[in-house]
């Protein structure tokens, strides 16, 4: 029992580190923000951050199984376009619309999972291809930006609860409790970690590797669609923006890496990815509080991404045999 806390600490090191980075960045951000630490500043920062947080959590689920989902940004864009059509009207229609959007996200994720696991294709190329399909459908739904959304619901979910807590943060916490926590504690969730760390060994021990990977891709689609829904709530419109979809895919990978999820699979958590996403967004916004030219933002984010992925190279120093370079 005495060694238990040490094990837990070691297992959650990545998540804790991500939380630390986020806390440090957010403190610098708030201290230099002209308005200081007020509910409004927190709300704006949260609303920017949760979109990426949902997409990053989606990516984390897949990356834990040693896969990757390069279509996650396009699912995000597709569900945004879909929501701008169907999340309108009476409360009942709106509720059905929300359910429809979530179902669409789940279906996209399930298609990825089916192709990668049962079709036995490389996740990189397979999800680039499905990403093209999802973007095509998004473009078909919204050739031009437009549409609308139930504004009452949108304002409620992007506002503040009791005048303090950002509602979007509450939904994010809800997603962690309803999607991530049950999954990671279930047999399938354990199997997803096993798939990431030693797939053949897991398979030999009779662990349900394939259902677990399938579930990870499907739930990833679901989480990306919650992000798409929130994008619609923020913008009130749907837009099939290719560049934006690509950027979210890219940033989700950066957020996952910052959040302590190993790209080789098997370690990290969805919660870590959330802190990674919030930290990444805060780093991007630091430029604004320091009054730098916004033109530098893409370069700055790119460099942060490059440095974040290069940090993984420190693992090479621990390698005992050069043969371990080649996986």
């Amino acid at each position: 029992m005495t060694g238990d806390w040490r094990y837990r600490l070691a297992r959650n090191r990545g998540t804790l580190l991500a939380f630390g980075i986020f806390l440090a960045m957010f403190t610098i951000y708030v201290l230099n923000h002209p308005a200081g630490f007020t509910a409004n500043v927190v709300q704006t920062a949260t609303n920017k951050g949760v979109l990426l947080a949902f997409v990053a959590m989606a990516q984390a689920l897949v990356v834990i199984t040693a896969g990757i989902d390069l279509s996650v940004g396009m699912i995000f864009i597709l569900t945004n376009c879909l929501a701008s059509w169907i999340v309108v009207g009476t409360p009942l229609q709106t509720a059905l619309g929300v359910a429809g959007v979530l179902a669409a996200g789940l279906a996209c994720g399930a298609l990825n999972g089916a192709i990668v696991i049962y079709g036995r294709l490389q996740p990189i190329v397979a999800t680039i291809a499905t990403g093209a399909i999802y973007f095509g459908i998004a473009l078909w739904l919204r050739p031009y930006p437009g549409g609308s959304v139930n504004e009452g619901l949108a304002d409620a979910l992007t506002g503040k609860l009791f005048g303090i807590v950002p509602a979007s943060l509450a939904v994010l916490a809800g997603a962690v409790l309803i999607v991530w926590a049950p999954f990671s504690r279930s047999v399938l969730g354990r199997a997803a970690y096993a798939a990431g760390s030693a797939e053949p060994a897991g398979y030999m021990s009779g662990i349900p590797i394939r259902p677990a990977k399938f579930m990870a891709y499907a739930l990833g689609g679901l989480l990306a669609s919650i992000g798409g829904l929130f994008l619609t709530f923020f913008t009130y419109t749907g837009e099939a923006a290719f560049a934006s979809g690509n950027a979210y895919t890219l940033f989700s990978i950066a957020a996952v890496v910052l959040g302590g999820v190993s790209l080789y699979g098997g370690t990290g958590s969805g919660v870590g990815a959330i802190f990674g996403a919030l930290a990444f967004r805060t780093i991007g916004d630091l430029l604004f509080v320091f009054d730098l030219d916004p033109l530098w933002q893409p370069l700055f984010q790119g460099v942060v991404l490059l440095v974040a992925v290069s940090l993984g190279a420190f693992g090479l120093l621990r390698v005992r045999s050069r043969l371990e370079w080649f996986r």
């Binding site: 990757i68 390069l70 192709i115 079709g119 036995r120 294709l121 490389q122 990189i124 190329v125 397979a126 680039i128 291809a129 499905t130 990403g131 093209a132 399909i133 973007f135 095509g136 459908i137 998004a138 473009l139 078909w140 050739p143 797939e199 053949p200 398979y203 590797i209 290719f242 560049a243 890219l250 990978i253 950066a254 890496v257 790209l263 080789y264 033109l295 530098w296 933002q297 893409p298 370069l299 700055f300 984010q301 790119g302 460099v303 991404l305 490059l306 992925v309 290069s310 993984g312 190279a313 090479l316 050069r322 043969l323 370079w325 080649f326």
Partner: protein, 324 residues
Amino acid sequence: MSETANLVGTRWLRRVDPAVATAFACIILLLAFGSLYSTNFLSPEYLLQQLKVASFLGVIATGMMLVILLGQIDLSVPWAVAVGGMMACAAAAYGTVGVYLAIPFGVACGAAIGLVNGIGVAYLRIPSMIITLATNAVAQGLMVVYTGGFSPRDSATAAMRFLATGSLLPGIPNAVVIWALIGFAAVFLLTRTTFGRSVYAIGNRERAAYLSGIDTRRIVMVAFILSGALSAFGGVLLAGYASKAAQAMGDAYLLPAIAAVVLGGTSILGGRGSYLGTIAGVILITVLQSILSVMQMPEAGRQVIYGILIVAMLLLYGRTPALR
């Protein structure tokens, strides 16, 4: 007598990669289908025009193929293409010396992107799709800062325009000649040099290649540099074709380049594939694009068809072995 001929025939048939044969069959099918729309599809002028359009993709896909043969992938193509075009045009603004150095400078910038990718993949052992996505983002950031967010104003040099649109040999566009030269170089490199054999060896099993004394890290790095340089050269040609560079000029080339290589039968896991297949893949993609645009298929439909086609071809040829 006829028996020997038969034997030679079957032996020849056995050597033909089914994926390459399928790709060529698809091209013929597409052209036949297109000729139902308009008889122009079978005219020499149309075919030559398609070959010219295909040569830009062909140059870019050559680099992509090298990297895919290693079992890696290069997702920095979009901005390597744009950097090549934009930097070549930018150099042209610096007087006579600039005009002469425009093309080498553009290609060198692409090679620099490839160098960063190569160091990351070969020496830091970062997964290639991650490091190339990151360098793509950095390249984009650099170009946004350089142009100030506006579309670049510099225009292409006369030499760039001549390479992309002129024709030195009567009737044959220069772009096609360039693709042919690069293609010959690639075939020579892949089949007649130790570098090429090492690329296949690393793609099959890097561990075994390392143990047999190949400097695998140097080979991987050089392949990424070549990929970056070829992407940038594709960008230089495209800038010459349009007589100026544009911010998003490379976005439309990543997916087709991967698709062309994969449709041509090169295994996405590395180690297997021929340049003939890549040629077939490039022409197939170009003819498909042309027919979809003649049919006035909107961009949405094109994306969906691309995606489905790649998944379908991968399911036919690119499956990994089952867990046992």
